[in-house]
């Protein structure tokens, strides 16, 4: 199948048309293996027979820092999103030939989880615009507008931000009871920050300082095109949309972990047509019914006992 046909078929699938996930995944795998040289080299080395989507070799997220993970000449990219990093060589780059799939995968999924009641309200974002940030782009796609500060309103609002942004807001003493019906989407974002608090504590602050109890956590990353949301507010279970799969991998065996066992989160995101559909994250999780729970990043971010992060260690002099 030609690649534009693949994209059209995917757009239809994401739009709700029925399709065979496995067949589509295998086609995309064949396409990506053919058109991305580093991925092909890796697959050749693994020599893993691929009969089913679960067998498709996953690209470690760190690969995005060192090699072009793209199935087209990156000079032709319509967009590129960068991971945060302290120095140039620690920045991962995700190239997009077009953003059509990204847009299609983002907006309805967001609405389904923040507005399952079909409510309409202004979507305000605490995340500054940044052309290199996939989160900032995602927020634009879902209609979010960056605000320097929250101001009291009479109509309900939906506020988006990283946990770190919200914490800054609260640390600055912000208190304003948002009108009933208001909601919050928070997403990870403590990496490299001086202060971290538990999710429970953060949610207590949402209730106390904003009067908002409708809070949904979003799990997304620069290397993906699809986001994962809490099944509903108060749930730790993330939903997986029809065009994606999440597998919890036992790090000792590289195979799917038995149910209930913690492991590394591997994402199969068909909307990543132009880069790599199978992504090995550096996050730990556990399967939960049809979805999964996130347990946190793989340790080692702070070098054992030395109060310096791995990033700080490897900063260039």
């Amino acid at each position: 199948m030609r690649k534009t046909e693949l994209q059209d078929r995917l757009l239809a699938f994401i739009g709700g048309a029925s399709d065979d996930f496995n067949a589509l995944a295998l086609e995309i795998f064949a396409f990506q293996r053919e058109h991305n040289a580093p991925y092909r080299a890796y697959c050749d080395r693994l020599r893993q027979p691929v009969h089913h989507w679960q067998d498709i070799p996953a690209v470690p997220t760190s690969a995005f820092k060192h090699l072009p993970i793209a199935c087209f000449p990156v000079a032709e990219a319509a967009a590129e999103f960068h991971t945060s990093g302290t120095t140039a060589d620690q920045t991962g780059k995700h190239y997009f030939k077009t953003l059509e799939l990204y847009d299609a995968a983002s907006a309805p999924n967001f609405r389904a989880h923040l507005f399952p009641d079909d409510a309409t309200m202004p979507v305000l974002s605490l995340v500054p615009d940044d052309p290199r940030s996939s989160l900032a782009y995602m927020i634009r796609v879902v209609g979010g507008k960056f605000v320097e500060r929250l101001v009291p309103t009479t109509e309900p609002v939906c506020v988006l931000g990283t946990a770190f942004h919200f914490l800054n807001l609260f640390d600055a003493g912000f208190t304003s009871q948002l009108p009933p019906g208001s909601r919050v989407m928070e997403t990870g974002g403590f990496k490299g920050r001086s202060r971290e608090i538990s999710k429970r504590e953060l949610y207590r602050l949402f209730a106390e300082r904003l009067g908002v109890t409708y809070v949904v956590n979003e799990y997304g990353m620069t290397e993906l095109s699809t986001q994962f949301y809490d099944h509903r507010t108060g749930s730790d279970r993330k939903d997986v949309p029809a065009w994606a799969r999440v597998m919890i991998v036992d790090p000792a065996t590289g195979q799917e972990a038995p149910p209930g066992q913690r492991g590394l989160i591997r994402v199969f995101d068909l909307a990543n047509l132009w880069s790599a559909m199978a992504i090995q994250t550096e996050d730990l999780g556990v399967a939960d019914g049809d979805g999964f729970q996130i347990l946190g990043r793989v340790a080692g971010a702070e070098v054992r006992g030395c109060s310096l992060t791995a990033e700080e260690f490897s900063q260039r002099p």
Binding site: A63, H66, A252, L264, L284, G300, R304, E312, P317
Partner: protein, 433 residues
Amino acid sequence: MSATVEQVRAAITRVHAARDRVLARRTTDAVIDALAEASRRWLAPDSPWRNRAVAQATEPTGFSPAMVNEIVDLIFSQLTHETLGELLDRELGDRRVLDEFSRRGRLQTRATGPRLISHFLAGNVPAPGILSLCGGLLLRSANLVKMAARDPVFPALFVESLAAVDAELAGCVAVLNWPRTDAAVTQAALADAETVIAYGDDRTIAALRQLAPATAKFIGYGHKVSFAVVAREAMTSDNLPALAQAAAFDVSIYDQQGCLSPHVIYVEERGALSPRRFAAALAEAMAEYQQRVPRGALSVEETAAITTIRAGYQFRAESDRRVSVWTGPDANDWLVLYEDDPVFSPSCLNRVVFVKPTDGFPRVLDNVRRFAPLISTVGVSPMNERAMAFAGDLAQMGVSRVCEIGDMQRPPLAWHHDGRPNLAELVRWTDVG
């Protein structure tokens, strides 16, 4: 079992009383004799102490039985009559100053150890804790030892083995355990201490320093990182197998959890053999060591950290000639990551080591200067004149120890741990004249 405030107070009373008896009846030489004899009894292959350590320590420490055996050899082979005496002579000038006034020029002087030392041990490696309490006993102090949750075995067993040699001396040590978070018990353990010695991560040490009485002398040993440098003179085919074996030992012992465990081995270019050859030889030696002394059990988190770094480097290795990866038959047993990039990369530990080519010592210095205060040991091979000049540069930077590769994990008893004397800092001097 977790100690209560009352138990800690009772233990302190007990060790004080034992100290009074020992001060009156033991010479320093008698203490040395007892410590050396207790250590000797650990070393026999069928020693009951060794066997009990293997049986009891494997589970809490996570080390394999063979590793516990290695650790027993490493710790107790260095606690001999000679090394203990040398330690005192070197640090105090003459061991007899602990027993009587001794003439120093116009003065007569003698040294007294702290009445009570509270030791807070770390769980990653057992050696520093054993040496710490031996130091306290050499000074004939009373000692309260808080063990780490991860190693409730070695300190307790050592004191028991000492009791079999000299029960009164062993009575000067109380070995207890309680959760770090129990501030009331921690405070009780600190309240009476003349000296506090704490091992652990920066946060733990800072918290203890806060709780310690203002009058107490506080000595904290925070975590450090170490690395090694292979000079081009060492990169010959005659030398390579032994060098690789020595490096594999330094990386693998304690499953790389010690502050003296190298994260990175820099290899100078322009030797007879290439840095990549060193990486290949190191991988072979790592495999051999794993065969003999398997790495311990890992948590899901630790395994995930290894898997993550391995997969990332394996992916790159297929497309980037500056990167190569060596693994064992079980891909997570150990990992040698060759990367032609001089930037220091901290390891996730558990036998994961980077090998990086370098064009010379100055480049190495440039890449470690930023975190020099955190560096403990730099292994260098060979320790020739050029290496001595390099050691001088490292000393200027704040590095506290340079040694031959293979000895990184065997610091002599009389070394300056983190750049400081071990016993000289603890004693009080009384002069006559």
